[in-house]
Amino acid sequence: MALPSDAPPEPTLAHDFVAGVDGALEELYRDLSPLVYSMAVRALGSTADAEDVTQQTFVSAWRSREGFDPDKGELRGWVVGIARRRIADALESRTRERRRLQAVADVAPAEESGPDDAESVLLAYEVNALGDPRRTIVALAYFEGATHEQISERLNMPLGTVKSHIRRALITLRDRWEVSDVAS
């Protein structure tokens, strides 16, 4: 399975982060900067812009950390919500710039990427974060197009168990997705 093997941050990190504990931002950055940066690269198609978005996201998260309640929300979803807003801002200012240029010369818009690309990075990350066996089952079903019967056979797992894992995975993914959606 060519999935990244990152795991979610420890629950206590959220409390340390909000309390401003030395090293908490560094730890959060180590955990989440690959996700934020990859989302931005895919959405913006530019590593320079993605670096800016990544910087803005973590600076903004640190400055506004007191607005995050570690007992009510999930830190990862909250940070991803900030990243989504920064990506949207970058796309918007790019559109404005393009319009300005088009007013001068007739430049054809280069429509190569957008927020959907960031979402596919996030989706892959969240699927991975499901942990096994759900990560493997969902990847087989949706990334490799295997039927539930094929998965059952390949993993030597009863068909009903496969289906139950997919249902529970869908519920978990929806819950995780909503955290960062609400934050945005």
């Binding site: 979610p8 892959a124 942990g131 066996p133 949706y142 990334f143 909503e178």
Partner: protein, 265 residues
């Protein structure tokens, strides 16, 4: 937040039902909202293009720029746009280097000290999650037993799972969750092992996202049954994990999982 009827709604969404499905005729607006969210999530999965590409790591200068920007905050005492807090001496250190923090309030002893020690230790889940990635779990659900033998005075098997040796992927015995007549649940570990001189084996229950965990105690040649604390919901922590713990007094998981299984509840 998960709800009891989420499984039903998820099944509908996975079967391609739309909001006009007769099964939803009497659904409340709140249930419909959850169904819509599940349906949207299923559509995202359906449209997922390809296996995940490995994540990219931003260049080191991004972290440097973050540190520089936050240090600038501190020296100019800015206030304004976002709920801004002083970064103080807590401006993050360069990765991998210790930074003397002069203005840092002295750390309290006790819980804080423990937290500090814990943070120096390798996060347990990096090892655990990597190991789990290679495990195919042979969990067997026996929920039917639970429902059909309510009056049985004997020990009832609530769930059981085959344990897998994470190093060899070989079967390594079984973990069985039993209920006593008084309702107490007991986890019985049936596995072969050798006692170690400089370390011990610890039994854990871990949640599926590998975030939360609880220690049940030490596995020894005389102790292989672990009473589940009253009110503790094993369904929320279905992964049975046995780790090697060094004799270092650190109460958290060492990250060295040797055996795992997942209870189907």
């Amino acid at each position: 937040m998960s709800h009891p009827d989420d499984e039903f709604l998820a099944e509908l969404a996975l079967n391609g039902a739309d909001p006009s499905d007769p099964a939803l005729a009497e659904a409340t607006p709140e249930q419909r909202a959850r169904f819509d969210a599940l349906r949207a999530m299923a559509a995202r999965l359906e449209n997922a293009d390809s296996p995940a590409e490995p994540l990219l790591t931003p260049p080191a200068r991004v972290w440097d720029a973050i540190v520089a920007e936050l240090e600038a905050d501190d020296s100019t005492d800015t206030s304004g746009d976002e709920a801004r807090a002083s970064v103080g001496a807590a401006a993050p250190a360069e990765p991998g280097t210790a930074q003397p923090s002069t203005a840092q309030p002295p750390r309290a002893t006790g819980a804080d000290e423990l937290a500090a020690r814990r943070s120096r230790r390798q996060p347990w889940w990096t090892v655990g999650a990597a190991a789990a990635a290679g495990v195919v779990i042979g969990g067997v659900g026996v929920g039917a037993v639970l429902m059909s033998s309510e009056d049985d005075a004997d020990l009832r098997v609530v769930a059981q799972t085959t344990l897998t040796d994470l190093a060899s992927e070989a079967g390594a015995g079984e973990a069985i969750l039993e209920a006593r007549p008084d309702g107490t649940q007991v986890l019985v570990i049936d596995t072969e092992f050798e006692e170690l001189d400089d370390a011990y084996l610890e039994v854990w229950l871990i949640d599926e996202s590998i975030e939360g965990m609880v220690s049940l105690g030490h596995l020894t040649s005389t102790t292989n049954e672990f009473v589940i604390p009253a009110g503790f919901d094993v369904a929320a922590f279905p992964i049975v994990d046995i780790s090697v713990e060094p004799l270092d007094g650190v109460p958290t998981h060492s990250g060295a999982s040797v055996t795992r299984g997942v209870l189907e509840l």
